[in-house]
């Protein structure tokens, strides 16, 4: 009975969440020609453009769009707040004011300033300009970029997953006050928490120090994993495929192992024992570059590249439906696309876990090397 109640509750929440989105968020552009607005994706170049557009971050959250019978372009999704630091200070408005325009033709006027969105970047027009002028290389000549603190789709994803994790894990933690075995969703989380602690943190950092870093390792593991999985849903998240996000995570790891490094760790790096004296300074440069640049760089690139590549491959396989339609027929192309994208998505579920695991494991290894006592020398 309890399970049935829970699932009914869950389904109701999902239903409310989805319907409220589609309920208030129908937004249409009458002034655009559906053939020109990039709505219909049929040719190879259009598919490529669409994929690259998806990989990037965007200022509004669109779930899907279609062209209605009356040639109107309908968008399903919701606008997100745009927060800018312009030449006159803080400016905020909703991203819906751009009307899904991305080539700088829609000008938003706020506090006497004019803004345009060009390729997902927001530009502030010069005070005397009315429209954006472009040069031969399609760069705006009378507008400049502004500091953009907008809650973009990825920032929204970060906040959403962060809030969900806070909810789930604080609930799990509170359960231990009253009972020994957690119930409900906590029962799924507990073995995963134990796994990170016993298989990643403990063997790599060592019995003496592992407790200090388990919190961080658990956070990055679940954060990356859940965001990777969110990227596989049709919501269109690509948060861990943003360089800024992976770079930020890698910098956290860098700061942690740099700050907690022992004397032995730094001595090994700067003046490596057991090596000819002439090589020591050169090795020090390599070791320092390795610890401060190469390690975090490989962490951030690995996660970013794997997730981006996964998204590109899945979307390319879905696009087979259109690109191979002529040679395979509608049924053949759709069938092939369905089959291939199904299996690649299964692999992507594995990759989502694997990348979270590798990131956490390497973070644990680097921290473990930094806090190691180096007794064997």
């Amino acid at each position: 009975m309890k399970i049935a109640q829970k699932s009914i509750k869950f389904l109701t929440i999902v239903a409310i969440a989805l319907f409220s989105i589609s309920g208030y968020a129908v937004d249409s552009d009458k002034n655009q020609d559906p053939q020109k607005d990039g709505g219909q994706v049929n040719t190879k170049t259009e598919v490529e453009e669409y994929i690259l557009h998806h990989i990037k971050d965007s200022h509004d959250f669109s779930l899907f769009s279609y062209t209605s019978d009356s040639r109107e372009r309908k968008h399903f999704g919701f606008p997100l707040p745009v927060i800018l630091w312009s030449s006159e200070g803080l400016v905020t408005f909703m991203s819906s004011e751009f009307h899904h325009n991305d080539d700088g033709h829609v000008i938003v006027e706020k506090d006497g300033l004019k803004f345009a969105k060009i390729h997902s970047k927001i530009y502030e027009l010069d005070s005397d300009a009315a429209t954006v002028a472009f040069d031969d290389t399609h760069h705006a000549t009378n507008a400049h970029k502004v500091l953009d603190f907008s809650i973009t789709k990825s920032a929204f994803g970060l906040i959403l997953i962060g809030a969900l994790m806070l909810l789930w894990f604080s609930k799990l933690a509170r359960q231990y006050k009253t009972k020994k075995v957690p119930t409900g969703f906590g029962r799924i989380l507990e073995p995963l928490v134990l796994y990170v602690r016993d298989e990643i943190a403990r063997p790599n950092i060592g019995e003496k120090h592992y407790r200090r870093f388990t919190g961080y390792l658990l956070t990055v593991f679940f954060f990356i994993w859940i965001l990777n999985l969110a990227g596989l849903t049709p919501l269109g998240f690509n948060v861990t495929g943003q360089l800024a996000v992976t770079a930020c995570l890698a910098i956290f790891t860098l700061v942690i192992y740099t700050v907690s490094g022992t004397k032995g760790y730094w001595m090994h790096m700067i003046w490596m024992p057991g090596v000819p004296f002439l090589i020591r300074p050169v090795l020090a440069i390599i070791e320092l570059a390795g610890a401060l640049v190469i390690k975090p760089f490989s962490l951030l690139v690995r996660l970013f590249a794997n997730i981006s590549a996964g998204h590109i491959v899945v979307m390319s396989l879905i696009a087979i439906m259109f690109t191979l339609q002529e040679s395979l027929g509608v049924v053949g192309a759709t069938g092939l696309s369905l089959l291939l994208s199904f299996f690649i998505t299964l692999i992507e579920v594995l990759v989502a876990f694997l990348q979270a695991y590798i990131f956490t494991m390497l973070s644990a290894l680097f921290i473990g090397m930094a806090v190691d006592d180096h007794k064997h020398h």
């Binding site: 063997p203 090596v275 050169v282 570059a289 190469i294 760089f297 490989s298 590798i358 680097f366």
Partner: protein, 73 residues
Amino acid sequence: MNKKTAPKKPLNKALQLSGAGLQMGIIIYGGFLLGTWLDAQFAVAFLTETITLIAIFLAMYSLIKQANNINES
């Protein structure tokens, strides 16, 4: 050390070599850049090749050093 955790360790430790390709690449490229810069500074032509070669040996040396460290611990 019990037997259960023993076979897992080599794999975990070897994971730190997963960035080895990148590490070697950056060291060698760094050597090449340094060589080109020094060539321009001193107006000679042999430093690019020499320093790149040295960088290759250094990259291999540090990789072997890393691998030995994994074996030791």
